[in-house]
């Protein structure tokens, strides 16, 4: 596939200057994204002396060391929290997707039971959140304190994702499901055999939204988990960044008695890398659905 063949006949071939300018701009845009990432990864892999020599972030490779990662993963606390986060993300995403698909399908069929009031209730959550204390009281009364479900159930359905998905389902021509119905398919079969296979894009995108949300979430864990061994990765990593902040925070009599030295930069950067890796791994896989997926809601919604 050459560029010439795709070019409409009325367009002139690009000038070398124009091409060079485009190349420059694109390179600059890519650099804006990749250079910070490069610096973060490189600093996290640099030995402490290299960080000191560079006086901060390392831009030129100067020795490689995995010490920061070793320190981070020593003791098993971080490793354990990675498992917690993975478990919560996988379970949560699966559950959220299942519930969102079912709800979106139901609400996309005009005439389904109570679909207007239900939709109204869901859209209402765009405008009003419940507030922290009522949320806590609810979660507590359901007996979910100190349970992994407290990280999943309160955020299991996201109104935005539901609306995007419903809009997509409504865009599927009614004739398709009508003909399936004539062939004797019930709603379950229509959903699983017809609608879902036609909605891989939007499912992937909504799934990604949920997964990134679960992976990055930490506030529910602050509220609902007393047991530190149940904390997800993001919360454990936050504690590393807090180190040595006693002074600025308050007046605990003598910080020299309590605070350790602030973590070195390499560890902080290693934290960034660890938190980023899963998202970076998943994005390319979902990316091809991505452009398709997000415009869907925009046009049809």
């Amino acid at each position: 596939m050459t560029t010439a063949s795709k070019r409409p006949a009325w367009q002139e071939p690009p000038t070398p200057v124009g091409l060079a300018a485009k190349g420059l701009v694109l390179t600059a845009i890519v650099a804006v994204v990749t250079v910070p990432l490069y610096v973060v990864v490189l600093t996290s892999l640099s030995p402490a002396e290299a960080v000191n020599r560079a006086g901060g972030l390392v831009t030129v490779p100067d020795g490689i060391s995995f010490a920061a990662y070793q320190e981070l993963f020593a003791g098993g606390v971080v490793t354990r929290s990675v498992l917690v986060s993975l478990g919560v993300t996988l379970t949560g995403t699966a559950l959220s997707l299942a519930v969102t698909i079912l709800a979106a399908y139901g609400l996309s069929r005009p005439g389904s039971l109570l679909h207007r009031p239900l939709l109204f209730l869901i859209l209402l959550t765009f405008l009003f959140g419940p507030g922290i204390i009522p949320s806590y009281l609810l979660v507590s009364s359901l007996g979910l304190i100190d349970s992994y479900w407290s990280l999943i159930l309160p955020t299991a359905i996201n109104a935005f994702n539901l609306v995007v998905m419903r809009a997509f389902f409504m865009g599927i021509p009614g004739e398709v499901s009508d003909s399936a119905r004539i062939d004797g398919a019930n709603d379950w079969q229509i959903l699983t055999r017809i609608v879902l296979p036609m909605s891989k894009g939007v499912t992937a995108v909504v799934g990604l939204f949920y997964a990134v949300g679960y992976w990055n979430a930490f506030f529910n864990a602050i509220l609902y988990l007393n047991d530190n061994t149940m904390w997800p990765l993001q919360l454990i990593l936050r504690q590393y960044v807090q180190q040595g902040q006693t002074l600025s925070v308050g007046s605990l009599a003598d910080p020299s008695q309590t605070s350790a030295l602030p973590p070195n930069l390499a560890i902080q950067m290693a934290i960034v890398v660890v938190a980023l890796v899963p998202v970076v791994l998943v994005y390319p896989l979902v990316q091809r659905h991505f452009t398709k997926g997000v415009v869907i809601g925009a046009v049809k919604g």
Partner: protein, 565 residues
């Protein structure tokens, strides 16, 4: 995309706190007045006395002493340099023989969950942590930590207090208490009254607790009930540090008044060689000029520090310092970022910092630069007289027990707390701070404990936060540190500023807190040359207009209620 709840700040107690007089004095004096006027102990009850109504009795704070444990000093080891005027004592070497302070195993096999803030990585939990096992083994009970991010602990506490689900033991930093609306009221309902266990001679089974000073204990009284175990504070927070090594190499003198400080600054400032005289020092300069910490009570009038001539003089002085370009440009451009590093590297020669910055710097710098020395400028006043140093509140935290525990459980927990109150020089102290020798720490050539790799991995400040203890200056592994610090403290401790509200815990009305930062910002504008010095009168007028006058009325009411008017 996730439905993460928005970050939540402590709500203000009321939109019109002045008008409604909703004040939450966890104060003793107030409680007494309320009791006299109908037995309502809750400080915010609308039927409570109003300021100016001449609160029933002259309820001096001293009358609360009956609720406090009888003070019985405990000294594990005689200090090499005894503290004077309330200053911490110093030890110039590490003891070779440790004292056993708690003879019996305090616990009886109970299991208690303890919620505390932590400003450090979370160590492995119970079951995977040999440090916890060792200390819990010695305690004879299991303390299970539930750590909270130290910066968001008020969010968590607000939720727990609203839902009435508190852990068996809870540590609340003192600054957080002021951010929790109705804390005093909530404390009465959620936390155990320790008065029957600790007041007066009842404290006898807990000799370590009896050794904590009475002013700190008073700080744990809410609504006429002793509820919180305190963390006794040192008298002061911060002062000006200077680079002793550079000063000695150049033979620079110590300043004895403001003019000499300015002269010194001009002499040592050398921007061409990337060396500036000063970092930030506004808060200490205020004390050099003898401004009150907040209020001064004179001839029946409360005068706020903004309204004093001393503050105006301090502002003028700081402006001169800025005009002479004696402050490091990084300090000017960003608010205090990196000051410590600039000081450590010698780009700044004098700056203000909390005292903890001293050992922090030595720990980080001495290995690379063995000649590095820092010290405190002597406490001096602008006119060569004595300064007026702003004292700390008497306690830095409260440890509270869940209401509804069995008396036996309360006694057991108090025993655990007693253990964790044992001071420097005891075996208990080494146990809860370092663990087992040879396993979690080793003694270095100076006899100073150094955590092993295992110790670093498993240690947390949890047991430290279970109680407070009498602080000492003991880091004798750092050259000259103990001698310099104690001699500064023994001198400076004499110059404690008088505070009309000393010993009274006051929940600051939110409107008063709200005008403070804007006013400070305006003063910063003046100091940094963005507004003329003459604007100070206008700034003070605005402060009075925007809530200062009402604050004065409020605080005057507090004085009257406590019989100090």
């Amino acid at each position: 995309m996730s439905a993460m709840p928005p970050r939540h700040r402590a709500p203000s107690t009321s939109t019109k706190p002045w008008a409604t007089r909703r004040r939450f004095l966890g104060v003793l004096g107030f409680g007494a007045a309320a009791a006299a006027s109908g037995g309502l102990l809750s400080a915010c009850a609308p039927s409570g006395p109003r300021p100016g109504s001449g609160g029933a009795s002259a309820a001096a704070v001293d009358s609360l002493d009956a609720l406090c444990p009888t003070y019985t000093p405990y000294e594990a080891l005689p200090p090499d340099i005894p503290g004077q005027h309330g200053a911490p004592s110093g030890f110039t070497s590490y003891p070779t023989e440790l004292v056993q302070a708690v003879a019996e195993t305090p616990g009886r096999g109970g299991h208690y969950r303890f919620m505390a803030p932590l400003w450090a990585p979370i160590p492995p939990g119970l079951g995977d942590n040999s440090f916890y096992d060792a200390v819990n083994g010695r305690l004879g009970a299991t303390v299970e930590f539930s750590f909270q991010d130290g910066n968001t602990i008020t969010d968590r506490l607000n939720v727990l207090i609203a839902s009435r689900e508190v852990s068996d033991i809870t540590m609340v930093p003192d600054w957080a208490i002021n951010l929790i609306p109705n804390f005093a009221e909530a404390a009465g309902e959620l936390f155990e009254d320790l008065t029957p266990y600790l007041a007066g001679d009842e404290v006898a089974p807990y000799p370590m607790l009896a050794s904590l000073p009475t002013p700190a204990w008073r700080w744990g009284i809410f609504n006429q009930r002793l509820q919180g175990v305190p963390w006794p504070s040192d008298p002061y927070n911060e002062w000006m540090f200077y680079r002793q090594d550079v000063f000695e190499a150049n033979g620079w003198p110590m300043p004895a008044n403001a003019a000499e400080l300015m002269e010194l600054g001009r002499e040592i400032n050398d921007p061409d060689n990337n060396r500036w005289a000063f970092g930030d020092m506004w808060r200490t300069v205020r004390q050099v000029f003898r401004t009150p910490r907040d209020w001064r009570y004179e001839n029946g009038e409360l005068i706020h520090r903004y309204e004093t001539e001393e503050l105006a003089a301090a502002v003028e002085f700081m402006r001169e310092v800025y005009d002479a370009d004696l402050i490091h440009p990084d300090v000017i451009s960003s608010r205090g970022a990196g000051v410590k590093e600039l000081f450590n590297s010698g780009e700044i020669l004098v700056y203000q910092d909390g005292f903890g910055g001293w050992t922090e710097a030595y720990r980080g710098v001495l290995a690379q630069n063995p000649d590095f020395r820092m010290n405190l400028l002597p406490a001096f006043a602008h006119d060569g007289g004595t300064p007026s140093l702003h004292p700390n509140d008497p306690s830095g935290q409260c440890v509270l027990l869940r209401r509804g525990m069995e008396p036996d459980q309360i006694r057991e927990v108090l025993g655990l707390i007693n253990y964790c109150t044992a001071p420097f020089g005891t075996r208990e102290y080494m146990m809860y701070r370092y663990g087992v020798e040879g396993e979690h720490y080793e003694l270095d050539g100076n006899g100073a404990p150094q955590r092993t790799e295992l110790g670093q991995r498993e240690y947390s400040d949890g047991y430290l936060f279970l109680s407070g203890r009498n602080n000492v200056i003991a880091e004798s592994e750092y050259p000259g540190y103990v001698e310099s610090y104690t001699s500064w403290y023994n001198d400076a401790a004499q110059y404690r500023a008088a505070d009309p509200f000393e010993g009274i815990r006051i929940q600051r009305p939110s409107a008063y807190s709200a005008i403070e930062q804007p006013t400070e910002d305006k003063i910063t504008d003046i100091i940094r040359g963005r507004r003329p010095v003459s604007d100070i009168t206008q700034v003070v007028d605005e402060w009075r207009r925007d809530g200062g006058e009402e604050a004065r009325e409020f605080y005057h009411g507090v004085l009257q209620e406590n019989g100090r008017d």
